[in-house]
């Protein structure tokens, strides 16, 4: 995606999107935002607010949301699943597969939208998958079963699978979920690399710090399903976080890192704070 500012349309543009399951009240309403190539938008919100539903809508996996979704200037509703898969890849939350595929067999699945029905990936696809694993420093895992690798390695395999699909837009549902602290940071670095390569990324997270560290845009769905978005530095403040998560959270500016950190104000000492309580 060679994006010359002002000449091409954003990689993802969402306009007045609303969705409801059946006749229930809408999960979210009138959602509008855009993500440019080489940018990240981190979607924050409490459990059950509809973050995953929004991603599934954009991925074209849910039926008839109202509103418009444009991917690289194309109307998503007009695209077939295969065409859509050439423009957009999706990393859902980690799921267990019942059969243990090797890592390289999993990675090579990313070429599915480029293969006609009846074709299997051949030598060139496997070599490309191997190359991607090498680039992510996990080449040694190629012939290991997916059920025998750690969560962090699984995440790297997923990234390789997405790179195999090679799309301008990447959706990620809680990519740092189930990862230890070090692997969460490693994951953020990988995401940062993807942004550097010009991919547009829309991801969900439960950790506001991740949005701050990636320093892109942030979007918020609150408990009522109301949607707002903007640059991290403009949108995120202590008041908003408290409203969002129902706990007092302070934002401290760290000069040496040139960014803020979130600090929950609760102090857990094990003693009751209120003697007569």
């Amino acid at each position: 995606m060679k994006n010359v500012k002002g000449q091409t349309s954003p990689t993802l543009e969402v306009n007045a999107l609303s969705f409801s399951y059946g006749s229930y009240h809408p999960v979210f309403e009138d959602v509008s935002f855009s993500v440019q190539a080489g940018e990240v938008l981190v979607l924050l919100g409490p459990n059950g607010c509809g973050k995953t539903t929004l991603l599934n809508c954009i991925a074209g996996l849910l039926r008839s949301p109202s509103g418009h979704i444009q991917i690289e200037g194309l109307d998503s509703a007009q695209l077939s699943p295969v065409q859509r898969a050439l423009h957009m890849s999706y990393l859902p939350q980690i799921q267990d597969t019942s059969f243990d595929f090797t890592v390289i067999d999993y990675v090579v699945m990313g070429c599915a939208p480029r293969l006609r029905f009846g074709r299997s990936p051949g030598r060139s696809e496997y070599l490309r998958a191997q190359e991607l694993l090498e680039r992510l420093d996990v080449a040694s895992l190629a012939n290991t079963s997916c059920s025998h690798i750690s969560g962090g390695e699984r995440q790297q395999a997923q990234i390789a699978r997405v790179l195999m699909q090679d799309t301008a837009l990447i959706l990620m549902d809680e990519p740092t979920n189930h990862l230890d602290y070090g692997n969460q940071i490693k994951m953020l670095r990988m995401i940062d690399n993807l942004i550097g390569q010009g991919h547009a990324i829309l991801m969900t997270s439960h950790v506001p710090d991740h949005a701050i560290m990636l320093d892109g845009s942030v979007a918020i769905i609150n408990r009522e399903g109301a949607f707002s978005s903007g640059a991290v530095s403009e949108v995120l403040d202590a008041q908003l976080l408290e409203n969002l998560y129902g706990e007092r959270i302070a934002l401290h500016w760290m000069d040496e890192y040139d960014r803020s950190v979130c600090v929950p104000e609760c102090v857990c000492t094990g003693k009751p704070k209120n003697p007569e309580y």
Partner: protein, 342 residues
């Protein structure tokens, strides 16, 4: 690292080739073995003589035994084993459940009922087959219909409906057995439900062959795509896969395979469950290699089982008895092997 990649592919291709060779050998041995033994070299010459003119070194009796009596039966055994194992492997992949076998949606219990009804009505062999096929397919349609009643449509609801329909049809089967004539019909029903290829003839080969070839070919074409079904629905969908359509198509193809196999041989248990696991153990979970391997393994397995069924005792042993015993032994071996890997 790239060498490892290439050598892995070679290893699997060589393994598949070895299975094919094993299949051919088992078929040749099956031609040779029986109450009337035909030496292997004569079997080879008799078969070759069909294509090129050869000097006759065999007796006419040998030729009749090999070409008229054993050839249709052995071919049917291979095709039935092939069809059941392939559809078992596909079902397990589609339902993401390693404990599933091709009769999951009630095709076998339906076929049993169909055959029993035909036997009760004193119908001939061909009508027994037609009735078994029809009721088998009807049972699957009923399963699918019931699964549509569930609010959520997941593979799990289909599994549940299959169990319900299977229960219904085994009840009807019991009823058929209860009302059957004890001296003629009941043994016929029981013999049918245990599976046998004793009556396999040329007509069976020519009805089974095209069906097996066509549906196997279709499943082979989509075999890599079936891998994607074991991903989550979202991930598979985001790869441009129409998950529901692909799953449905795979189920239709493998059900047709099972139904046509079962109506020739009667129900043969265990093959559809055991052989795919054996294949997975040998060649891995990748359907690109697993499906061809399952076909070859299943065909070979049933040819061996059927040869044993003919030769072990003076009267024929029903196939399900042998597959049940051999299947259990194989399964235990697989589990022990798995434990050693972990």
């Amino acid at each position: 690292m790239k060498d490892a990649l290439v050598s892995r592919r070679y290893a699997r291709n060589i393994l598949t080739l070895a299975l094919a060779v094993l299949g051919v050998l088992s078929i040749l041995c099956a031609f040779s073995l029986g109450r009337f033994m035909v030496p292997l070299d004569q079997v080879f010459r008799i078969l070759l003589a069909q294509a090129i003119p050869l000097e006759q070194t065999w007796t006419d009796q040998m030729a009749v035994v090999v070409l008229v009596i054993r050839l249709p039966r052995v071919i049917c055994a291979f095709l039935v084993g092939c069809a059941l194992s392939l559809s078992g492997a596909v079902y397990q992949g589609v339902f993401k459940n390693p404990l599933v076998s091709p009769d999951l949606l009630g095709v076998s219990s339906g076929a049993c009922v169909g055959a029993s009804l035909a036997i009760l009505a004193h119908l001939s062999g061909l009508f027994i087959q037609i009735s078994a096929f029809t009721v088998g397919i009807a049972a699957v349609l009923l399963s699918v219909g019931i699964s549509r009643l569930f609010k959520q449509r997941t593979p799990m609801t289909l599994v549940l409906s299959g169990i319900i329909v299977g229960g219904l049809f085994s009840a009807i089967l019991s009823l058929c057995q209860y009302v059957a004539n004890v001296y003629e019909q009941l043994p016929a029903i029981i013999f049918w439900t245990l599976g046998s290829l004793a009556t396999a003839n040329k007509v069976d080969v020519w009805t089974l062959l095209p069906i097996v070839v066509v549906f196997t070919a279709i499943l082979m074409l989509m075999r890599w795509r079936l891998n994607l079904l074991s991903l989550g629905n979202e991930e598979a969908g985001s790869l441009g896969i129409h998950v529901g359509r692909l799953r449905g198509f795979a189920i239709v193809c493998s059900t047709a395979l099972t139904a046509s196999a079962v109506c020739i041989s009667g129900t043969v248990g265990w093959i559809g469950l055991i052989v795919p696991h054996l294949g997975r153990l040998l060649i891995g979970s990748d359907n690109t290699h697993l499906l061809p391997a399952s076909c070859l393994l299943g065909g070979t397995f049933l040819v061996i089982v059927d040869t044993l069924a003919r030769n072990l005792t003076s009267s024929e042993i029903p196939l399900s008895i042998l597959t049940g015993i051999m299947g259990t032994v194989l399964f235990v071996l697989i589990i022990i092997n798995r434990r050693m890997q972990i």
